[in-house]
Amino acid sequence: MSSRTRVVVFGVAASGFAALLLWGFVGLPDFGHYRGPYGLILNKTVVSARHVTNVPTAVNFDYRAIDTLGEEFILLSGAVGLALTLRSRREREERPPETPDRGLEHTSEALRIAGLALVGPLLVLGFYILAHGHLSPGGGFQGGVILASALLLACLAGEFATLRRGRPWLVMEAAGGLGAAGYAFLGLAGLLGASAYFADLVPLGPMGKITSGGTIPIANAPVALEVTAAFLIVWSELLDQALLVRRRR
């Protein structure tokens, strides 16, 4: 199909689709006039019922905790899928490890120093966001991404080849699996120890303090581990491809 016909066919289909979509949206409540009831009920009850001040976190890790389990497995399977896609060919292409990593020496001193200097502060920020997810915006997913970014910075600062020699994939895969399993088993503990999957096992604690929220902040920890590992697998696999390409030149 020539690109002109393609655009014409798409134009007809898309304008019909857009019209249907707009027609469907006309029946929605006006913007700014959310009618509820779930959001309104949650906003009224979550803080006193769960001792959590960040309501979306309570939704994710308590009311819809089982969906978060599914989402965690989406992330894990995505990372595994990416690793499988890229590794199936890597083994054939990989040269003996004594081949020096050319190109890495080109990382400028400024980039190395700035990258390494940012690792510490980013790690602290990541742990802070992770630990306060039930109080203010943040949580396991966000904290995990920041923690992974801190380690990625170390790689970008030129330490990737060093890290690579320590067989980091083994550690990352184990951490990812451990995080996903930890979250699933935390839910099972609620099922066995209390009434339902992800039921609260620990006391809710004082309102607005870091020890509040019962199981919710605890559930954030394995999630953060899994997210950190999954993102590191994704980035390091892609970085590794870049190294392969560079080495071949």
């Binding site: 690109s3 393609r6 959001g39 001040t53």
Partner: protein
């Protein structure tokens, strides 16, 4: 004004699809897909918005304060993660396509080549 966010949703969805259909590069195509996906964020957040309301975080506010729907925020948040994963997977496939065909243009890749 009250319909504008929904119109933005439709626009983002369709313009993203247009990018996918006319794309000549798999990386560009992946970015276009994220544009389509971002229309779902706008839709979710628009559905849950309430006039003159704050975010549903009550660290310094009483629960009597008017706040937007937290459920759609949680859903959007899940949406973002899924989008990141999908984009990563598609980029990995793009890397392999480039290795196999030496190009990233979908029109230049002929999988049936003997």
């Amino acid at each position: 004004m009250s319909f504008l966010p929904y119109a933005v949703v439709v626009w983002l969805f369709v313009v993203g699809l247009y990018g996918i259909v006319t794309s000549h590069n798999f990386v560009h195509l992946t970015v276009c897909l994220t544009v389509v996906q971002s229309s779902t964020y706008v839709l979710l957040l628009a559905v849950g918005y309430r006039d003159d309301a704050t975010a549903p975080v009550f660290t310094a506010l009483s629960t009597a304060h008017k706040a937007v729907d937290p459920v759609v925020h949680a859903l959007t948040f899940i949406d973002v993660i899924v989008e990141a994963v999908v984009a990563a997977l598609l980029l990995a496939i793009a890397v392999q396509v480039h290795k196999r065909f030496g190009t990233l243009d979908p029109d230049e890749c002929h999988p049936m080549r003997g």
